[in-house]
Amino acid sequence: MQIRSARISGFRNLQETRFDFSSRVNVVVGRNGEGKTNLLEALNYFALGRSHRGARNDELIAFDAEALHVELGVVEESGAELACEYGLGRNNGRRFRLDGEALRRRADLVGRLATVFFNPDSIRLVRGSPQRRRHFVDQGIAEIDPSYLVHLTAFQRALKQKTGLLRDVRHGAVDGRRIRDDLEAWNREIATHAAVVCRERGAYANLMTPFADAAHRELAGDEETLRVVYRPRLETAAARVFTEDDAGAPGNPLETPSRTPSEGNPPEAEKPGEIGSLEQDIFKELSYIVGSEIQRGRPLNGPQMDDFEVRLSGSPDEGGEAPGLDLRTYGSQGETRSAAIALILARSDVLHRRRQVRPVLFLDDIFSELDRERTRRLQNMAIRAHQVFVATARPDDLGDWRPADLCAWRVDGGAFTQVKDPTAPL
């Protein structure tokens, strides 16, 4: 997938500009605050349906404008051209158009323009909070299976309701003994969706591991083995994930249609080990702790507490079968950054494997976070399969990187000038 052109107006400090991009590498150099990241943000907004920095409309619209408008000329893998447009107004108005046709729901956007974004923050994926890793994996699953988002949001909504119920008990608004039936109903609803969430998260970790391992070997230049291991907090889910892992036969779990058995009886009988019984197991496990949850006044278990281990172990001749080092806690800064980059690249590989789509890659100011050798390797890995956008405040960080078809711009105060040599001093 490629962004071939863009017309941007009214976006933050960016001057109204029309871009024709290289199908391979695009570099923007400029000092911080001049508009590098704003350009990447404008390009990435359509992909996410929101700002990757979480900015509101009012922050995105130029101070002297009433609205912003961005048009992207996108080319899909098939060669088909796609006109992606969005407009934001003050008062939270927003419009997305695909080939001139308005998209009604944000969900219709998912996967239309696929992107992967690296910045100094995203490469803290391995060191950061479990929530960050859950979010990363959830996004990855949603990219290849949009129906996952429905289960995830339903799970989160039901959990919020349950949390509210337990909070009422904690605050004395209701007697804990009187809500057991309520809790049971919420736990049933939670279990329905949690079963899908756990199953898909486990499958995704297994699916991405070989890609992450390959990317990591190339990036780090050694023979150590990288593994992503799903660690659900629910024991019943953990048991299920390990069984599949050990048997080495998860097959294509993501292709197994997830089902919502609360709807009634599926036409065929439940197979043992199918998601239906995982749902029942999760419900039983949640029921078992109802007493403690009432006592503590909050939910004590569920996918909201899941994590993913990122393990690095030696090459086979030095005992590669060992569980390896858990980088979340024991990784050096260099190791965790390399692992994070490998995971993010693996998400692109998974998307390609499952949907035959190569996302557009954004590298926002991350070369300064890596040593020269890793920077050079990442540069080569990135352009091998993707169209790449690079933003950097330090042209030196590009090193001697001069791939074919490179287009470069300098940005000063939101004004872009195309340049021949991106490494000329600012």
Partner: protein, 208 residues
């Protein structure tokens, strides 16, 4: 941030009476200050329908009530559906709100009776099982000899959870419990069906 001026934002009328009317109207569901102002000016104009409206509101308030048996909106109590000999008392359709009865009645295919819960389980809105009339539902089932309950609640998380609750409540009894199917709308094109609806329609597919 640019400062914008909207003639209907913040400004107040010089007439306190009109101001009171606008405020009252803007408290109605779905009306902002802008539309409330438009309606208020219409109501105080010369050809105003205000007198008729006041009469209609008063009459409706006197006549309209919720059926004491099913909760539907009605004038006679119990409602005609609850008392009609031609409605099958053994089939009971459980809905969340009185307006949910309307589409069924408009379509006309359902010959059973209704039970309106008046809400869905939602602790965040202060609704727990104790707040919904499940006791009355249970006695209704006994009194009418209900043999089948059709749960017709929203496909939202709250609707699903309430349905699970009802199912759990009556699953030990000699009752048929069923729920509305979800799937592709009639006349809907397959190509434009979202993934989730399609997946459900596929899971709960029927034999010929």
């Amino acid at each position: 941030m640019a400062h914008r001026h909207d003639p209907n934002d913040g400004g107040e009328f010089q007439s306190p009476a009109l101001e009171r009317l606008v405020r009252g109207l803007s408290r109605l569901p779905g009306l902002g200050r802008k539309s409330a102002t438009r309606i208020a000016l219409h109501l105080v104009a010369k050809e105003s329908p205000a007198a008729e409206l006041v009469e209609a509101v008063n009459e409706a308030r006197e006549q309209v009530r919720n059926c004491s048996r099913c909760g539907a909106i009605t004038e006679p109590d119990p409602c005609r559906i609850c008392t009609s000999e031609r409605r099958d008392p053994s089939q009971l359709c459980v809905v969340a709100s009185p307006v949910d009865v309307l589409p069924f009645e408009k379509a006309g295919f359902f010959r059973g009776r209704y039970f309106v819960l008046g809400g869905l389980l939602s602790p965040l809105d202060g609704v727990r099982a104790d707040d919904l009339p499940f006791d009355r539902l249970a006695s209704r089932i006994d009194e009418d000899g209900v043999a089948e309950i059709i749960i017709a609640l929203d496909a939202s998380v709250e609707g699903e959870t309430t349905a699970l609750y009802v199912q759990r409540l009556f699953e030990g009894r000699d009752l048929r419990l069923s729920r509305l199917a979800t799937g592709i709308p009639v006349g809907g094109a397959l190509a434009y069906t979202d993934e989730v609806t399609l997946q459900r329609a596929f899971q709960f597919r029927r034999g010929f």
